[in-house]
Symmetry: C2
Subunit: 126 residues, 2 copies
DNA sequence: ATTGACGGCGTTCATTTGAACGATATAATG
DNA sequence: CATTATATCGTTCAAATGAACGCCGTCAAT
C-alpha cells in the first residue's frame, strides 16, 4: 500500500465527488460536478479511469454501466496532501500555516471557540 | 501583474532558495539545495530560466555570471498557494485544515500559547 | 597562445496532465 | 425487428513538467 501514484488536480476533483457520492456512474459524477467547471462527460470518464489505474477507486459492472466506488478513504488522501503541503511550503512547520489561516481567512466565533477548546486540551496533554 | 503562470513544484523549490538567499547565481542556488535532492546544476539553471520566463525572478549580468533576484515576494506567492489549497481540498473552509494541523502535527507549548493569544485577539475584534 | 574549466543558451526528451474524439457494443423505444 | 440513444474502450493530442545535453564563448592558469 502507500505506493499509489499521486493524484493530479483534476483527478482529485473527480475523486472528491466519488467520495461524496459513495458510489457513482460516470454520468452521476459528471452531473455532480460544479457547473462552472465545464468538462465534457468523456473527460470525466477519462479521469475516473485514471483514478482506477492509480488504485484510488474500484469499478464494477452494473448492467451496461460502470459503477465507481472509493478504494481509499478521503481522510487518508487529505492527510497525505496536507503533510506534503506543509513540508513543501512551510518546511514541515505547521505553526506558520495555522497562523496564516487564522489571520487571513475568516473564522466564525463558534469556530474560534472550538479551536480554543482544542488548544486547551492539547496543552493539558503535554 | 497578478497573471503570472503558476509555479511547478520544482520551480517553487528553486524559487524558495532564491528568496532565502536574496540574490544568487545558478551555482549558489545549486549549492544551497538540500543534498538529498540531487539535481544536476544544469537542471537548476533550467528552472531558474523558467522562473524568469514566468516573471518570478529577474536576472542581471555580473561579469560572466547571471545573478537572479526575486521579483515577487515569497509571502505573496505563499498566500496564493494556501488559498488555492484551502479551496481545492477543503472547499474554501479554513477551519477543518486548522483542526487537522492542530491534531496531527506537533506544536510546542509556546506555539500553543501564541495561537491562544491570536484567537483571543480575533474574538475581541468581532 | 593553448588548454581547460565553467557559464549561458538553445534544445531535447520522456512523462504527466488536461481534455476530448470515434468506433463499437448494448440497451431502450417505436 | 429497426432505430436511436448512450456507455465504454482505446486512442489521440497538446501543453506542462521534470530532468538534462551539447555547443559555444570567455576567463583564468600554464
Amino acid at each position: 500500500m502507500g505506493k499509489r501514484p499521486a493524484l493530479a488536480k483534476s483527478e482529485l476533483e473527480v475523486a472528491q465527488i466519488v467520495w461524496k457520492l459513495g458510489r457513482a456512474t460516470v454520468r452521476e459524477v459528471f452531473e455532480a460536478m460544479p457547473s462552472e467547471r465545464d468538462l465534457n462527460v468523456k473527460t470525466v470518464q477519462t479521469y475516473l479511469r485514471r483514478l482506477e489505474a492509480k488504485g484510488y477507486v474500484q469499478t464494477y459492472r452494473e448492467g451496461r454501466n460502470n459503477v465507481y466506488t472509493p478504494l481509499v478513504r478521503a481522510s487518508q488522501v487529505v492527510r497525505r496532501l496536507v503533510d506534503d503541503f506543509v513540508n513543501r511550503i512551510f518546511g514541515g512547520q505547521p505553526f506558520p500555516l495555522v497562523q496564516q489561516l487564522l489571520e487571513q481567512r475568516g473564522l466564525t466565533d463558534e469556530e474560534i471557540d472550538r479551536l480554543q477548546c482544542m488548544l486547551n486540551r492539547l496543552k493539558k496533554l503535554s
